[in-house]
Each structure stands twice: as structure tokens, then as C-alpha cells.
Symmetry: D2
Subunit: 493 residues, 4 copies
């Protein structure tokens, strides 16, 4: 068997070509569209994602057209019933999207004409695909943003749970990957709670900015009908309408805002993931992953691999790539709509399919991690992690910090040469380096070290407990509110 | 002369090595730092940018230490006077940053010791370089963000001015770079006002998130002194303090937020720049650039090139590159501080040096552009740009939109074959394609087309005038407030 | 209908969970893998792409094991027959990849055990999934690279064909988007032939570097069996084997090389696409796209949009994004294999699915473009495009170039003020600006301008014809060789 | 002191404006260039980097003009002497680049006119800035590429030296950051030698592609003089001339090729750097960095930080950012030259200033690292790293691998529960899991494990020694050849 065993590279050419349907815009064209072109330009595979939004927005549009007497009330009813039927077909998996119809909008309109006849042609009154797709996709991205926000709250909850369960555990804090000073494990977890809280606010800020209705902007100039845009906005849940029709059809900032927030969130995840990988190594041994969240090796029987954390870390690349992809696509595009912008959908889908499962699987894993408290505690005391405390001790006895630092640095070097820890040195030894050392210097230990950092944001146990409690309340409140809102919106249906 | 004429590639090695100064942390080290390492790790070239912030934060810190009786009031005074003196030296260009002292903090501390003796060593009490640099750099980035915001307001003002000066000009609106429908030139400019307004809000959102004081977080765990962080925040103008010490020293989200906003702003600029380049081409001929904002060719005497717009478009790459650079640098870093994070400064500086001059030069150029109204007007009527209006005419006469679209598509094709425009066709001609055409169909022109789009966000003249007025008020108010605030803060000194 | 009409965001959770199969590595695990984890870590959806390669490599491996007497000849036969059968199932679409089996390798091995019993377990002798996946994926990427190369040759052929058909057409050459000097349209097309030829060489260089067999590297250290790696390489068509087992399983440079070449190729495509978009605008009117390669508007009946070129330009973002994605994923990974590297497959697939159809559809479109020679010719003479020729005329009469440039710049300004072209000026007029002008200055025209540039790489017709001829021969030869090779490899089977 | 202490943001406006010099192209312009524009468009700060190349190329050009009798021999001599003088001024630091003259070319030409009068104007005969800058910059990038290649060879040499010094050291090999199988430390180092060797070839491939002379392409169309391009190429050391004038002035692939190679090289460096950081942590303790290549902490006296490795890892972001920057800048640019392309220089400089010092400092550090052999050896035997060897033992006794794997997985689990290592188990214990275990199973240890992997690319000591020897010869040869070539080229002058 030679290399040619693999079938020739898949190309844009569809395997079979169905009977050709005239395009809605084919009136002035001589030739039918080339099959390569159909395959290359079709967006039906990504459009399917906002099928529901398309139907929803069309219904709101058509109701408004009737209210404004642009079309008849009975015509509107007919169209709405047709759309409902189509949505039913879609939900039951009976609606087949045909690539040769370019996009979801044309698929729906074509099916509508089959169902209700020429009156279907009135659905497109006072509307263009440009403002329609902008509307559908915004509805989709708003929901994605809400979903990302909720996943971030859930992830914070998991971090809090893990911190609460291990509230007394002391670990070495690191800088430059070197043991620096002891901290509470819960304090370390709360650092991530802070990061994800900023991410949450980034998504909420993005939501606030994107939450406006573009429909009514037409192809780019607005529409020559007495439409009532605000009433459509109200029906679709948008607080306001876009202010400029050209901008409305050429703006994809809402996608970029989502992608930026997703990329930075994934960077934060990658930092946590890196720590999980390190902590579950033989060298650290700080945590044990649950079997259900690890995998083995096909060749090495002893292996237990932190694949989830590794993949989460690796997929950060994909999220950053999606952001870059969108920024590049938009670069240098003249106004208003250009077909290039169709690429907003794969970029968003990529980022969404990277972000949400990552947040979900990490949130599920965290509370099931076993923290090896004893191992962490030992590591927190070894390797001169308390050296700063010795220096601060001297400062409290009156030495300027810089001199105290120097004295203790020499002390550390002395201990290193003797291969002992600072706590192993006698008072006499200590006093060789500074006469300010007294009996109470022997009381310096990891617990006294963390307890001394009793300031806002510090690792002292009382501070950490309070911060944890505050975070717990905040997160639980958000989840409760979201649940309540969800119930309410379900009732709405 | 061969290729070797060029001197060997510059490397990290400094030309001459000054007498070696002991490092503040050299107590436990045997060897002096290798020169390559000094050159490679030094950040003095970028640190100089926040020299003022470093002094400012040190003074606020030392005052607090005195208030909290952690150091003596006289010691604090001495230190503050020393710092003032150093800042004076810096402002007069007398302060030489020495690379072998690693960073600006150590340069200042070393100089302080020369000026006031060992008491200088007390400045570093209850502080680490980790929280110090986080503080200095935040102060810098906050100011950068404010500056970016103000530049965006100024750019909006220029767009508004250009729009106001050309309030009656009609141009072709484009989709797919094809003439689509007539729009007001002012409406087109207002689309950019919207974009830059979102950018402005992005910077303001970033500012709101970054505006908290990290000082007091120490190396990573907080400090074992009874410091008063909020009072330092108050003195430095931060509304709040950071909530978690580990996060505070490992967080560079504020840099990413700046870079994200800058990248998207530059993407918007690139779209405007692309249009300026196209519009000043022979083919479009829509605008004439002021000579003062164009350049010539060294070889082609007739050339007048839109270099400013081209460079603005090209520098979008640099802004996106800076964002990518920072995201990559942070990816996978364990907590807390790692030296990798020093790369935040070149990234920020790159983006800032790209963004601010770009916004400034474009804002200066726009009001001086000559708009060739006649050429735009002709283009707006040619090429069947009014076809949609013919279709909408038929809709108003009762035809469903889809059928109207089809009829007009055939009409356009007919006109194309006859090589005439729609306005050249007789009523009889029109009626061949639809009996609904009547005399009033001949009244369709560019002005009637734009006037008909009389909805929120549409291009009808009254709508555009109102939007322009609203934008003008908003922008003028912001600039007035900023000026007032600036006066107030200057009085403060 | 409220926003909740859309089903909750799809997550990593599979809809239904099949009966759990024990993992091949489950011997030391207590818990079964969490469903979220299975969905999150599974790569079966991307692995399917190299199913054929997996079978092919397994067969080569097992044959070698028999040759080396590591397993029995009959065992090898059994395994090979089993693998053949599985491949048949796959080709007939009967083979269902089960996500809970993690990857394609485990799916094949599991099925093999069903078919031939415990001897299937011998297939994994002297092999790990790490070197196996590296082998399969290399085979796939090598084929992708070859395919990209062939598509680039075909695209060059299309450019050549278009150039040949329009060999006499003169167009304005541009710098800064301003008309600069006349050039042959064919010369302009040959510029793209050069670009794509460099891209071709980039892919061929990448191929040369990636063409080595990693199999035999085991998990990371090599395998403790007397295997014969070169004979496997020979069978699979690799000229050499990898030199270091650790590198072999942790190296994904071959993916990065593909992605780099793809990104730059797409950047080149974006430049061509930008020109096609501009040239088909009303303002330029240089080309007419075939109807079969354009689309219309749902609202504007007159529109004929260059969607293919726009999408090609837009998809450049995706190709650059894929490259960034992979570089970020690899950044900072310790040796050897880490699960992060599984992300190599989506990145490659993204780039491949972007690149190949783009090259194919552009290649299909180009020869069908109508070049509007008259319009180009007029544009090539207008707007003082011949000014450089007037300057060079003066140089030939003895004036230093800089002074000649200045004289003609003033001449152009004079003509501009009079609103005439240089050819409209009388000799007397010309002589006002330089006494060196004589009768023969009136002979300067677009054709004399291009004919004068008769140097290697210049736009003189004889030079362009020769370059075109050379390119034609080169391309045809490559395609012929590829066809011959293809025939040969098919015979091989 | 309030925030306003910092001076207002630096903008594009130069502090003082020198007397205005007429631009070489100012003949047709009414207004002088705005100061903001001068600052914004000037490239003198980056152009200075190829001052030598500019002089060198001008001299080659002017000599050819004389040989071809396009200018007089005496004129050429005068110009050459003037250029030599200017280069002398530059080397002595006396040549001041004036930003208002736009670029280095105009600065040189202006100075030349001061020195030798109007004949200076003949230098620009048959040349445009477009082909001139393309030539200068290519000369620069070729030299950069050569330099990168040499640095990569030197880095390989350092890796080889470190490996040779520690030829017998056994360490645990890792996959998924979990101990997998023992390997030789030298084998691990050789994996990096492979990576950097591929990088080296990437730079050499780039060099091969970029090594052609663009001069003679004029503004974009070639020049109307009988120039001899090949003779200029010969003089400047280019093997060939570019084939298409339009491509020659719009091509920046050579920059992208450099940036791609630099980005991937830095990714490889980041992997090595990550390992150096981990290995020097307390948890691993595998290596000790030389004091001269580490830094301390301003607050924690015990710290010894691997800053060089951290910065190298962090600067990977900058290299990737530079690549993205260039790709984005080029995206969508129509032919031929556009001013956007001026951004090629900052991108290249950024990457070069990131790459070269990084390679240099790592190469200097590596040979001075202390490898803690004992600690590595212990780690290589612990944690069931030999489990695969137990499985392979059973395979050699006849068990299919999959069953052997399963048996040993259970064995590992049993040992884990008893908290012992496999070597602590009795033969009886072993035989509970498989009756195939015999006395010789007790001989399995780290050394037997690595010795068994005696295949091409495997970690067996004889294989590693041979690979090391081969690498040593290859690297030494390259350095010797480079040194010889360097001597030769110096003689040339």
C-alpha cells in the first residue's frame, strides 16, 4: 500500500449537485453559479447555529411590519405561522439546509415560499441580509456571552469550594518558580477567583456594548419605510437600537470583544492548568488528580497523566488564534459590508467551542482534587522560605530594611554551606550575623509568617477567610439571580 | 567594498563595563553578574518611562510608613526630600540610569543612599519590587489609557468637523466595494464616530478595571507591617486597593486590556485609512489630500501619495502584534511574579507609540481634506445605485419585495445591455418590466433615495443633522470636562 | 418567543453515553473516566483524517516486526489481514469511531482484537502512541504539503493563461494606490507568479525537512527491541529516520512549517484578491467577473459582488490565526510529548481547509475573467503616468536626474492647473520648463514607456513574453512530472 | 504630587523644527509638509541601521552607470568619492540624520549635493527609492540571517559541550510532565540540538530564497536605461537578480521568512527555558545555575532566580508578535509598493533584537550549569519509571504487549498501595501478576533500561555517544568554515 491510499485531498467541490435552484438575486445574471463558488461561499454550515435567532428576528420584524401597516395583518400572520412551522421542522431535524441557497436566510425564505406562496416575498420588505445577519448573529453572541459569564461564575464557585475544603493548608508561594514565602493554599486559589472575576466583568462589559439592535439598517443606508425599530428591539430584548446604519452593517466589534475576553480567560486558565500539571508531577506531589479526570499511557503502565489540564493549556493557542483571525480579517476593510466579514462566524464558534467546555471541565475537576497538605506544608518551610521573615524581624528591631536583607542573605548562605535550614541554627549562630537576634527569633515559622501578613489582600488566615466568605456570597448571589432570571424567561415563552 | 562593511551584529554585550556596583541582593552570591546577563535582563531603558511614577509612589509609601509609625517622621521627611531631589535631577536630565543596577527602582534607591545615607534603606520597608513595579506601571498605563481616550475624542471631533463642513454632500454607499445606495457623506463619517466611540468606551472600561492599588502586596503574600493601603491609594488617586496579594503581583490584565483596545482601535483606523487611500486615487477622485499631509516620489514627478493613511493602515500590524506578544508571554505562567512579565513594558510602549501619533495625525489631517462633492454626486447616481429604490417603489405599489427585486434586476440588465442608466429609460420602458410603474417613478433620484431613509440611524438629511448635533455636543462636553479636570489637577501640585 | 428559544449552549457533554469500554491503560485506575473528560480529551473527530495513514503505518510496522522475528510471521499476517479488513470497513463507512476510546489508534486496536483475538495485542509491540501519532500525522502533512504545492502550480498556470490571453494589454502600474507608470497587464500577473513560486518553494522546503520517519522512537526513549527503522521508512516512503527519539515525539515543527507557508500564501492571495475587488469596482472597471463567480444582492437588484475574492481575502485571517494558534500551543512546553500537542490537528485542518479551496477557486476563476483592455489603456495614459518618462527624456539629453525630476514636477503642476494632460501641451509649453525638450518629446506614450524598460525583470513586451514563456514551460513541466509520478504511485498499489 | 507629575504623553510632534529643507519631490507641491506628518512618516530612526548598505549599493550602482556609459566615468568617480566621505562621517558619528528628509536615502543624496554639487543628482539615474530600499534592506536581512545561523551553531555547540561534560548522567524522561522512562541527560540535550539544527536550516533556506538583487526594478516597471543588473549583483555578492520588477519592489517575503524562522526558534528556546526554570526549582533540583547567570530578590534574601531563562521564555511573545505584525501589515495590500511596507523594519529589528541576544546569552550560560547527577539518577529510578521495562520483559517472554501492559499496570497499583517501588517487590510478589517473571526480572534498572534502547535515535549510551560525536564534528566544521569565509571576506576589502 503506497501513500496514495488516502483519497485525494478534499476540495471545495461538493460530491453531488442537486437540481439548481434560481438564486433570489439571479434576475440579472446570465450564468448559474459555479459549483466551486457555491461550496466556497456558502455559510450554511455555520449559519445553522443561529437558525433559531433568524426565525425569532423574522417574526419580530414581520409583526412590526404589520403594526406599522407596511404589510397586511393577515399577511403577517401567514408569514409568522409559516416561520413557526419551519422552526418546528428545524427542531425535529427535518429541515435540510441547502448549500446552493448560500445561507440560512435564503433557505428559510425559500422554504417559506413553498409553504405559503408569494406572500413569503413580503418578509424581506424593509430588510436586507446585511442587517438581518447582523441581528441574528448579535442575538447569538449575546447568548454566548451570557453563557461564558455563567461558566465563569461556576468556575469561581469550584475554586471557592476547593479553597474552603482546604482552608488551613499552607503551601510555598513562588516567584520565578522559586519558593518565596509561605501562603495559604486558599489564598492562592483566591488569586484565580480574582482573575476569573475580571474575565466575568470583561464579558459583561462586552455584553453591555453589543446589546443594540441593528435591524432596520437595511443594506447600509436605512430603509425607506416607516418602520418602528425600537418596538422590534423591545420584542427581541435589546435595550436600544444602533445609531448609524452604515456602522450597523459593517460593525463586528461585538465579535472581537467576545474573542478578546475569551483569549484572556484562556490565558488565565493556562496559568492554572500549568500549576495543576506541575503540582501533580512526582517532583511537586502537591495534589492528586481524581482518576476520572486523568488518563493512562498505552505503553507505560505506571502513568497517570493530567491530560485535562494539558489540553486546557494547549487550547489557549486556539483562543488567541481566533482573536488574531478576526482582527486580521477586519483590517483594512472599507465600509460598509464586505463578504470577508462572513469569517466572523468560524472565529466565534472556534473560540466558543474552546472556552465553554474548558471552563466546564476544569470547574468539574477542581473540587475533586486531593490536596496533599503535609507535602505542601513541608515544602513551605524548607528552602529558606522564611528568610524574609528573619529580615523583617530585624527591621522591627530597628535595622533599615536594606541592611536587614543583607544580613539575612549572608545568614542564608552560611546555612546553605552547612546544609541546614534557618530553624536549625542556634541563637548564637544567628547573632553572628546580627546582634539584634533574640530568643523570639526562634518562633518564626510558616504559620507566624502568614499570620503576620494581616492586611487587606494579605495571606493572614483571618483575611483569607473573610475574602473567601465574601467571594462565596457574591458567587452564590449571581447564580441565584441567573437561575431566577432563567425561570422568568422560560415562563415568558 | 564587500558585505562585511557593516559592523558585526550588535549583541547584548555593552561596549564598556563600568566599575561593578554590588547588587542590593548580592549578599548570598559568589560571582558577579555576567555582562551578557546584565544587558539581557536590564529594564532600565523601558523603566525610565515611569520614573516619575516611581518617585510619586515611593513618596506616598514613605509618608504612610511615617503615619503608621513604621518609620520615624524625620526619616520619612529625609527620604522624601531625597526623592524630590532625585526627581529634579531626572527632570533636568542629570540622572543617569545605570543598566548594571537592573531597573529604575534600584537606581533610585542607590542614588538615595548616596544622598541621605543608610536611612535610604528604610524606603524598602513593607515593600517589594514586585508590588512596586506593579504600582508604577499601573500609574503609567492609567495615564496612557486616559490619553488614548482623549485622543479618541479629538479624532471624533475632527470627523464631526469634516462632516459638518460637507453636510450636503451625497456619495455612493458601498457594499462589497460595489456602489450600493446613495448616502450622505456626513452619515458615512458618523459611522466612524460610532466606531471610535466604542473604542473610547473600551478604554474607559479598561481604566475602570485597572484602577486599583497593588502596593502593599509585597513579594506576593502581603507584608508583615501594619500598613494602611487605602491611604496610599487615596494619595495616588486610586479609588480602591487590590483584593489579593498573589494576584496583585502576577496580574498584567491591565496591559492586555490596553493592548486589546488599542488593536481594535487601529483596526478601525485601518478601515478609514483604506478609504482615504482609495478616495484619493485617480479612479475614485473623491477627495484631495492637503499637500502638507501627502508626500511625493523621488522618481515620478507627478505623484502625490497618501503616505499618512498608508502608514496608519500598516501600523495596525504593529498594534495587533503587540497584543499577541503580551498574550503569548503570559500563557502558561505559574503564579506569582515571573521575570517573563517584564515584557509587558515593550509591548505597551510599542502599542502606545503606534496608537497615539496615529490618532493625532489622522485627526489633524481630516478637517483639511477637500471633498470633491461633484464627483461623489455623479458616482452616487451612476451604476444603478438607485435600483433598490425602484424595487421599493414597486413594493409601495403592492408587489411583494422578492418579486419587485426580480423585476428590477431584469430592468437593470436591460439597461446595462442598452448601456444607459435607469433614469434614461422611458416610462414605457419601465412598464415593460412592471405595469405598476407610473410617472412618479421618474422622480426617483439620489436625494429622494436618501430622504426616504428617514428612520433612526438612517441616512435621511434630518436624521444625519440630528445625529451630528448630538455627537458634537457629546464630544465638546467631554473635552470641556477633561480640560476642567486637567486644570484642577494642575492646581493640586 | 424570548431569547431562550435557543437551546442551552452545547457543552462538552455527549448526549448519550454508550456502555463503558475499559481503556487499554485502565489497569491501575479506580474510577472510570468522567464523561466530560472523555468529550474534552477525545481526538477521534480529527483523527479520522489520518485513518488510512494509521493503517498503512501499522502494516509497515507489523511486517518489520515479523522480518526482525520480534513476532511470528503468521501473527503478522493475521494482524495485517485484520487491518486490511478494518480499512475496508472504514472505506465503506461502516467503521464507527467511538469517542470513549480516545483516539483512532485505540479504536483500531480494539476492533482488531474483536476480529483476531489476543494476538492483536502484539501490534503495539515496540511502539507507543507517541511515535505512532507522530508517524501518522507526518504522513498526512506530507501529503497535504504535496497537495498545496500542486495547487500552487495550478494557480500559477491560471495566472499565466490569463496573462497570455491578454498579452498586449497595457494598464497603469500603481504605487501608493496612485497611478505611477504604465506596465503590461501580463507583467503584473507575472508578479503574482513569482510570489506563488516562492510559496511553492516554501512548501517544498518544508516537505524536505519533515520527510523522516519517527516510528521506533517509542514513548520518548526508543524501544528495547531489535527493530529495523529504515526498512519501515522505505516501505512508507520516507527517505530517512529521525535522529533523536525525544525530539521525534515532541517535534511539531513540520506542522508549523506548513502553517507558515500557508499563512504567507494566503497573504499573497489577499493581495491578488484586493486587486480583483478593486478592479471590478465601478471606479476602476478594469475587469468583469464571470457571472458564475459572482453573487447578487438580496436587496439591491443591480449588484454583482466579487464574493470569491472577498472571502479569499478575509480567510487570510484564519490562516494567520492557525499559525499563531500552533506557535502559542508549543510555547513553553517541556519535553517530551505533552497532550497540548493534540491541538496540532485542528490547526492544520483549519489551515488546509482554508488554503486548498481558496487556491482552487481562484485558479478556476482567473482564466474566465474579462479584461477591459480599453479602459485600462486609457487609465495608463491619464494622470501624468508618463511624467517619469519625460524626466528620463531630459536625463538622456544630459540633465542630472534630480534636476530633470524637478523640471517635470513643475511641468505636471502647470498641466494640472490648466487641467490638461502632458500630451496636450505644446512643445513651446514644454520648453518653458526645459530648453532640452525637442520634437521627439511628443513621441512619449504608454507604449514607448513600457518598451523602454527593456532590462531583465522590466516590463518591455519582449521581456514579458520571454518571462511568460519561461514560466509556462516550468509550470507545464512540473504538472507533467507530478502526473507521471501519480501514475507510477498508483501502479505501485 | 498628583498624577499630572508626568509630562503629557509624548506625541509625534518634534520638539523643535529646523529650517525647512525643500523635499526632493517638492516640485509640484504648494504647502510644506506638516510637522506631525514628518514625524509620523519619517523612517530615519530605523533606516540608520542600513546606512552602510545604502552607501555600498549606491557605489555599486554608480560604477555600473559609468561602465554602461550612462554617466561619465569622472562623474562616477566624484560621486563615489563623495559617498566614501559620507560613510566616513557616518562611521565617526558625525553624520546627523535629519528626520525632515524622510529617509536615509534622501539624507545621503542631500549631503552628497552639498559635497559635490549638482552632479550628485546623477546618482539617482535609473533608480528609484523603491528598488533602492528593497536592495539596502535585503543586504541587511541577508546579514541578519547569516548572523542568526551562526548564533544557532554556537548554541548547538554549547548544548553539545554540556552534554559531553555530563555524558554518563541518567535522568527521568518525561511525558505529560510525569516521569516516563529513564534517558541519558545527553540524549535530552541532543533533542535540542536537533531542534536548533532545523532552525538553522530554516534560516539557510530563507537566505537561499532572498539572495537576489532587486536594484534595476525602478519604481515598479524597470528603468529605461541600458543598465547591467547582473554586474551590480556580482559586486554586491548576490548570485542572481530578481525576475519581475513589480514583484521586486512589493515583495517583503524575505522579512517574513526571517520572522517565521525567528519565531519558531524562540518557541524552541522557550521549551528549553521552561525546563531550565523547572530544573532549577527546589522541587526538581536537577541543576544549579551559575551565580553569574542568576539574580537575587530585593526583598527575599534566600532567592536565586533563573531570570535569563524566564526572560528568554517571555520574549518568545515578542518574536511571535513581530511575525504577526508583518503578516498583518502585508495583508490585502495591492501592488506594487505601498508605504505600509515601511513597517517591515521595526518588525525585523524587534525580532533580531529579541533573537540574537537570547541565543547568545543561553549559549553562554549552558556550559556553566552544574548538573546534579545524583538527584537526577534517583528521580530516574523512582516512581515506577521502569514499568515499561517490566512490560517489555514479559513481551520478550512471549506475552502480547497489551496483556503485558495490563499485568504491569496492576503490579504498579499493588506497589503503590504498599508504598514501595517495583525493585522492592520480591520475585514471589512479581509472579502473582505473571508467572513469566523469573530471577532476571530483578536485573531491570535504569541503566539496563536505557542500554536496551539500542536503535537509531534511541537513548542507549553507545548511540548517544555516536550522535554526540557526529554533532560535534558537524558544528565544529561549520564554525571553521564560517571563520575561514569571514577571513576571506575581510581580505576582500
Amino acid at each position: 500500500m503506497a501513500k496514495s491510499v488516502r483519497p485525494a485531498k478534499a476540495t471545495a467541490k461538493p460530491a453531488t449537485k442537486p437540481e439548481t435552484e434560481p438564486k433570489p438575486w439571479s434576475g440579472r445574471f446570465d450564468e448559474v453559479t459555479d459549483e466551486l463558488v457555491e461550496a466556497y461561499t456558502s455559510s450554511v454550515h455555520t449559519d445553522a447555529m443561529f437558525f433559531a435567532e433568524d426565525i425569532e428576528a423574522s417574526i419580530a420584524h414581520v409583526r412590526m411590519l404589520a403594526r406599522q401597516e407596511i404589510i397586511g395583518a393577515d399577511e403577517a400572520k401567514k408569514i409568522e405561522r409559516g416561520l413557526d412551522k419551519i422552526f418546528g421542522e428545524f427542531q425535529r431535524g427535518e429541515f435540510v439546509l441547502r448549500p446552493e441557497l448560500e445561507d440560512v436566510h435564503m433557505n428559510v425564505e425559500t422554504r417559506l415560499a413553498e409553504l405559503i406562496g408569494p406572500v413569503a416575498g413580503k418578509l424581506h420588505t424593509a430588510r436586507s441580509r446585511n442587517d438581518q445577519v447582523a441581528t441574528d448573529f448579535r442575538l447569538y453572541v449575546i447568548e454566548s456571552t451570557r453563557s461564558a459569564a455563567m461558566h465563569l461564575v461556576a468556575l469561581q464557585q469550584s475554586l471557592i469550594e476547593l479553597a474552603e475544603k482546604n482552608i488551613d493548608v499552607i503551601m510555598p508561594g513562588y516567584t520565578h518558580m522559586q519558593r518565596a514565602q509561605p501562603v495559604l493554599f486558599a489564598h492562592h486559589m483566591l488569586a484565580y477567583v480574582q482573575m476569573f472575576d475580571r474575565d466575568l466583568h470583561r464579558f459583561l462589559n462586552a455584553m453591555e456594548m453589543m446589546d443594540e439592535l441593528p435591524l432596520g439598517s437595511g443594506a447600509l443606508a436605512g430603509v425607506p419605510y416607516k418602520i418602528d425599530r425600537q418596538s422590534v428591539a423591545d420584542e427581541l430584548g435589546f435595550p436600544r437600537v444602533t445609531a448609524n446604519s452604515i456602522d450597523a452593517v459593517s460593525d463586528r466589534d461585538f465579535v472581537v470583544d467576545y474573542l478578546s475576553a475569551a483569549a484572556l480567560t484562556m490565558v488565565h486558565v493556562s496559568r492554572l492548568a500549568e500549576e495543576l500539571v506541575l503540582w501533580s508531577s512526582a517532583e511537586f506531589g502537591f495534589i492528586t488528580l481524581p482518576d476520572a479526570f486523568a488518563t493512562g499511557s498505552s505503553i507505560m503502565p505506571q502513568k497517570k497523566n493530567p491530560d485535562v489540564a494539558e489540553l486546557a493549556r494547549g487550547r489557549t493557542g486556539r483562543a488567541i488564534g481566533a482573536l488574531v483571525s478576526m482582527l486580521v480579517t477586519l483590517k483594512g476593510l472599507p465600509l460598509a459590508y464586505n463578504r470577508d466579514m462572513q469569517e466572523d462566524k468560524p472565529a466565534l464558534l472556534d473560540a466558543e467551542a474552546t472556552l465553554l467546555p474548558t471552563l466546564e471541565v476544569i470547574a468539574a475537576m477542581l473540587p475533586r482534587i486531593t490536596v496533599n497538605a503535609a507535602r505542601m506544608a513541608i515544602a513551605a518551610s524548607e528552602n529558606y522560605s522564611l528568610a524574609t521573615d528573619f529580615a523583617d524581624y530585624l527591621v522591627r528591631k530597628g535595622l533599615p530594611f536594606r541592611q536587614a536583607h543583607e544580613a539575612v542573605a549572608k545568614l542564608v548562605r552560611h546555612a546553605e554551606e552547612k546544609r541546614v535550614d534557618l530553624s536549625d541554627l542556634s541563637l548564637a549562630d544567628l547573632r553572628t550575623f546580627s546582634p539584634l537576634f533574640a530568643d523570639d527569633a526562634r518562633e518564626i515559622d510558616a504559620l507566624s509568617s502568614i499570620s503576620a501578613r494581616d492586611i487587606v489582600g494579605g495571606t493572614a488566615p483571618n483575611r483569607v477567610r473573610a475574602a473567601l466568605q465574601e467571594a462565596r456570597v457574591r458567587v452564590d448571589t449571581m447564580l441565584a439571580e441567573a437561575a431566577a432570571e432563567n425561570d422568568a424567561s422560560t415562563d415568558d415563552d
